[in-house]
Symmetry: C2
Subunit: 438 residues, 2 copies
């Protein structure tokens, strides 16, 4: 049979089924979808393709799903390191956004971020920012699939005059992408402390009517929780529950200061938690109780946040950090296991976006959103546990191929020259020699 | 004047003086040392060289000093992810080491690790392992400068029969490298809980007689502190103080469970703390109080630890993690500032090793141990704060040139191909356009 593309992988981590590493498998792509998954020896008999990609030392896996970005902020990356949160916002971020905010800024910033993400293995991002149609344009130009947000925030901006305007524009955005295979929309009340009860209720209504996820920052700082208790007499998740937002469409971004009652409410409701560890550390927000969320069965995704608070849109790095932090926070090195984390970085994000019928795992019939990670470098050798080393040894620099809907959106070739000739090759044989003695 | 090499840097972060980013500077190398540092415009008039390296979008800085490695463990990387500490040691690490331990294993493992480190910008590592002469051979073969350890541990190994043997071999090692510009030696009692009072006292004596640093794991786990209180009635640092080890030659690796009294003792004594954040997180050891150490004026260095507990010998990544963690642990986003962290990763390590007269900063007369980090990639653009973005946006993948004593030991060329032609170039102009509007 003729196929558009055949990817021959040394290792395949399909995410579904879980805890699985398959060897010498081929992924067959036709019409942008995964047409077949079978041993390479069989695939070579059954399929022909003008585009066969042979990856003898790589892991192939689903593309990474970034569950929380502010893509356009790539343009203001690097502003205000080492400041306190309020100084950072007041003296750097808000003035910069004030100067630049426009559809063009959002489109071009999102293109930059989209490229950075594509190069590091992200095939889909869930963005939250002003001018979401422009964000979608930039992200699509970079080749990514995306969910963009109908942002609702309690102050005027270049994008909208206030709540009525934001809600109307958000509804239009959602309608505009109802049948779009590449761009989905969410409703995104910015945070409990920047949106009124009334507008939060209307967001809940929009979410229900259109079946779209609610993308909201929650429980990010201790101050937010204190403020909510003071103003409303309720913890943020309790308040959102009363306003009809805590259900299986909720994506609670950050959730650093979630307590046991919050986690329990979210688990009961089937809500999702989006963990952004670099941003939480760098802004000194704290340590999200990731292992507790996982133990309670809450669906978890990983997000990079924007380049202003996490200067690196690196989902592999973020997932590695999330795993290590979860172990230390729980005081348990068996927490946040490798396959749980690889699932969070892919299918977990897809589930949160209600997009898991189409993306998030390597399964026949799904969209061919795939990445290849090369483990041949000395930094990943010898390969004794491809899944663990993909997470803990490899980095975004080892991502070599990124496909969205079967289209190659990024390809990297790393040429390394040592001062000694061809040292790279003999080094790997050294590594393998010792591995064979174990 | 004729020079061996002239490096023309867009940005130079010399570390000394601190808090400094110089622009359009040249570093002139002769006889393996830094002969001059001057504006590139002047350097072009004053120096000729057959080896001029022009780096129009790179930061040049001192090579990274890895203050704690077990280089040979690269060969057993990837074993036993997600196990408890004791399962990991008993079922994976110790059996593997038992099978492989030999001079050859250490030399070849250290070569692999040395290559990985060289490729990520490390020019000097302080290693602790069995067969230190073999470790030095492997690390030198990879091009690195190193401090290797006279290891003393309370059980026999393939390298030694027991304390007497370890101490004698350690003393021989130290004598052997007394005038070696590339290989220094330390005395390395493994940890307070694996070495007797008597042997610790003899290590203190060796350290004093030869003026060599003491490289020891201390305060790594809560269990270690409890055990010490139970067995000796003393916290580990208190016990080491009584045994004559807490002075300006002490390198206290990990120091996760250091309390205020430990930090105070170390500050008074001029001791150094070596922070290994990835290892501490992954093994669920806990969170070292880095900001408290820095505030107390304790000299801080950064270490990767071995590839068995931190599967990535990535000093830039480790330093970024250290900075972010310190902020979150201290609850203060102004803690662990960019230049403090860049100093810890270079001069801090050199100081701990008593090697700071020769390495750790870009100063005239010092060894030409230098690296270049390219910031032209979309993941580092636009460059608004080169020091902050070196730490927070760049990664080991952006390290392009590594020199030790003026010799280029690693050079990388990253060729990136997008599905759209030459997108990389136009993207940077997009980034710069917006940067200019700020």
């Amino acid at each position: 049979m003729q196929a558009d593309t055949v990817i021959e992988a040394r290792w395949l981590i399909p995410v579904v089924p879980k805890n699985t590493v398959l060897e010498h498998m081929s992924v067959v792509i036709s019409g942008g979808r995964i047409a077949d998954i079978l041993p390479t020896a069989q695939a070579r008999l059954r399929y022909q393709s003008d585009d066969t990609v042979t990856l003898p030392e790589s892991v192939v896996m689903p593309g990474l799903v970034n569950l929380h970005s502010h893509a356009a902020m790539n343009i203001i990356r690097g502003l205000g390191a080492d400041l306190s949160l309020m100084d950072w916002l007041n003296t750097k971020i808000w003035p910069a956004e004030g100067k630049l905010m426009s559809a063009d800024y959002v489109r071009e910033g999102s293109l930059l971020a989209g490229r950075e993400m594509a190069m590091s293995g992200v095939t889909c991002t869930s963005d939250q920012y002003f001018f979401p149609e422009s964000a979608a344009e930039g992200l699509r130009e970079a080749g990514l699939r995306c969910a963009v947000s109908g942002l609702v925030i309690g102050f005027p901006s270049a994008w909208g005059s206030g709540d009525e305007d934001y809600l109307a524009k958000s509804e239009a955005l959602i309608r505009n992408h109802e049948n779009d295979p590449f761009v989905h929309a969410t409703i995104a009340p910015h945070a409990p402390y920047t949106v009124s009860d009334e507008s939060l209720r209307r967001c809940a209504d929009i979410s229900e009517r259109f079946g779209v996820p609610v993308h909201i920052h929650v429980n990010e700082t201790a101050g937010e929780v204190e403020g909510s208790l003071k103003t409303y007499g309720l913890r943020p998740i309790e308040r959102l529950t009363r306003l009809g937002l805590v259900n299986d469409r909720l994506i609670a971004v950050h959730s650093v200061h979630a307590d046991a009652s919050d986690i329990d409410k979210m688990a009961q409701a089937g809500s999702s938690m989006c963990h952004c560890p670099s941003s939480n550390l760098k802004l000194a927000s704290g340590f999200a109780p990731l292992a507790a969320f996982m133990k309670a069965g809450v669906n978890v995704g990983i997000g990079t946040d924007g380049a202003a608070s996490n200067d690196k849109l690196d989902m592999l790095g973020e997932t590695r950090l999330a795993a290590m932090l979860a172990k230390a926070v729980a005081g348990d090195s068996t927490a946040a296991k490798v396959f749980d984390m690889l699932e969070a970085a892919t299918l977990g994000g897809a589930r949160a976006l209600h997009w898991d019928q189409e993306i998030g795992s390597v399964e026949t019939g799904k969209q061919a959103d795939l990445i290849a990670v090369d483990l041949s470098g000395v930094e990943c050798q010898p390969v004794q546990d491809p899944a663990a080393q993909l997470l803990y040894s490899a980095g975004r620099e080892n991502v070599t191929h990124v496909w969205v809907a079967g289209q190659l959106i990024a390809e990297k070739i790393l040429s390394v020259r040592y001062s000694e000739e061809n040292c790279g090759f003999s080094l790997n044989s050294v590594a393998k020699k010792w591995q064979n003695m174990l």
